[in-house]
């Protein structure tokens, strides 16, 4: 099991803990990661707005880098997953590929031949690693810790998401938490929008959206949220205090990246998963895990 790893800009910048935790988890589970260190940003919708043709060509270039190694792409971000998998889908059409390869040729670069698939870590864990191997690798079961899922819009809207998920009523993170020996908490806001992409223009809207999702999670009894998207993480974690003030209600709920919650269950040292980088302290979660700890050999 080997993938061309596309961490995305945020996992190499303000959410560096996501990149670190993903590498730890991949090593533990035997997922080989080949770095796409020359890949550019997926465009995140902004580049697509400004220059759609170039955005598609830049993503074709990334896909072609993976293709030349004979690998599919692994992402850990909902937005990277959406824009890269959309590009891969569009570029399966020979006409679109020819047009985009024309841009690449004008830029002095080789063509994209097609055929590369883009998968998010969540899909790889459930479909490639599989429940049986994952369950057997758990050394610190999540136990009674009530874990809520915060899916983020873009992962659910990615082409191919329906192969491991029912996008309207998603269950994959809850299934994963179950496999990790935990107690998933379901709440309506798990498919809410965090508002990240409107932060620059309308921070007020983003905060009201995330406050609503966080409030619902808290009301449902979740003591921690797991998210497969670092952009959701940025809003839910670093803006949580502001969102709580705006909503006029106390909200304090630690947010873990998907890789971190998997890493914790695998028994990896929390410090090596970067949990101290968050603004909302994760220590209550770690303490609860350690209190009820049944460390398996």
């Amino acid at each position: 099991m080997k993938y061309a790893y596309f961490p995305g800009c945020v996992a190499l910048n303000s959410c560096r803990e996501l990149d670190v935790a993903t590498r730890e988890v991949a090593k533990d589970l035997g997922i080989g990661l080949v770095d796409l260190d020359q890949a550019a940003c997926c465009g995140a919708g902004n580049l697509q707005d400004a220059n759609p043709e170039a955005a598609l060509a830049i993503n074709a270039r990334t896909l072609s880098m993976a293709g030349s190694k004979g690998l599919d792409v692994l992402t850990v971000c909902g937005t990277c997953q959406l824009y890269l998998s959309r590009a891969a889908q569009v570029l399966e059409d020979p006409e679109a590929r020819e047009r985009t390869n024309g841009i690449l040729a004008r830029a002095g670069q080789g063509p994209y031949e097609g055929g590369v698939r883009v998968k998010h870590l969540l899909q790889v864990l459930l479909q490639e690693v599989g429940g049986r191997k994952l369950a057997a690798s758990v050394r610190r079961p999540l136990g009674d810790l009530p874990v809520g899922a915060f899916y983020g819009c873009h992962l659910l809207r990615s082409p191919g998401a329906e192969s491991f998920e029912t996008p309207e009523e998603p269950t994959s993170i809850e299934r994963l938490v179950g496999i990790l020996g935990g107690k998933p908490v379901s709440f309506d806001g798990r498919t809410a929008c965090c508002g990240f992409h409107v932060l620059p223009a309308r921070q007020d809207l983003a905060l009201r959206m995330s406050a609503a999702g966080l409030g619902e999670a808290q009301d449902a009894g979740a003591k921690v949220l797991a998210t497969p998207c670092p952009l959701c993480h940025l809003v839910l974690d670093t803006y949580q205090r502001k969102a709580s003030r705006l909503a006029g209600r106390p909200i304090e709920i630690p947010i873990l990246h998907l890789s971190q919650i998997v890493g914790l269950a695998l028994g990896i040292d929390p410090d090596r998963l970067g949990v101290k980088r968050h603004l909302v302290p994760v220590s209550p979660v770690i303490e609860e895990l350690e209190d009820g700890e049944v460390v398996r050999p």
Binding site: C9, V10, L12, N13, S14, C15, R16, D37, Q38, A40, C41, G43, A44, G45, N46, L47, Q48, D49, A50, N51, P52, E53, A54, A55, L56, A57, I58, R61, L82, I103, L104, R106, A107, G108, Q109, C153, H154, L156, R157, A192, C193, G195, H197, V198, P200, A201, R202, Q203, L205, A206, R208, M209, T238, Y239, K242, G274, K276, R277, H278, L279
Partner: protein
């Protein structure tokens, strides 16, 4: 003398939208409001309406649509695309409108951020969040953030001081130049 009916300013505007990447599906939109029912922004912001925006495009109100700040209040969640009964892609249509609005030289927080983002890709290949933020929101934006940036830096979430452009940045710049005007 017959009263003069208001004439649409750009009666063929919808065709321009339909021929912009992402905007093609405007021809199948029936303005049924299924998008409105699922839009998380419309629930909070009365000035934003996906259906209303598409209706104004159909009425040829080009300038009004392209200068509307509401285009930049869309969170790109694509809930509308997933729920459209006539298989239109309202979220993509709004993205096509943002493209046309940038082409028309729109200004404001949203357009400034999108262009700063593109500059970020051109400068380094990958986004350096703090730089993009400073370029689009400026010092005023930084002050609005209060202690959050400092707290992030303290926790190790600040801008990486070792961050450099990717080695093959020239390739990225060539693609941006070959792909279009921006």
């Amino acid at each position: 003398m017959e009263p003069e009916l208001p004439r649409p300013e750009a009666p063929h505007f919808w065709q321009a939208v339909a021929s912009t990447p992402g905007g093609e599906s405007i021809i199948v939109c029936l303005r049924c409001e299924a998008c409105t029912a699922v839009c998380p922004v419309e629930a909070l912001e009365p000035k934003f309406s996906v259906r209303g925006t598409i209706a104004r495009v159909r009425k040829g109100r080009r300038a009004e649509v392209l200068t509307d700040d509401a285009l930049w209040a869309c969170t790109r969640c694509f809930a509308c695309d997933a729920s459209c009964p006539s298989h239109a892609r309202p979220g993509e249509i709004v993205a096509a409108l943002r493209h046309l609005s940038l082409e028309a030289g729109a200004d404001g927080l949203g357009p400034r951020h999108a262009l700063a983002f593109v500059n970020g890709v051109r400068d380094r290949g990958r986004i350096h969040e703090a730089r993009v933020w400073m370029e689009s929101a400026g010092l005023a934006g930084l002050f609005r953030e209060g202690f959050r940036p400092l707290e992030m830096a303290w926790r190790g979430k600040g801008p990486s001081l070792r961050s450099r452009p990717i080695d093959s940045i020239t390739d990225v710049r060539r693609i941006l130049a070959a792909g279009g005007p921006r």
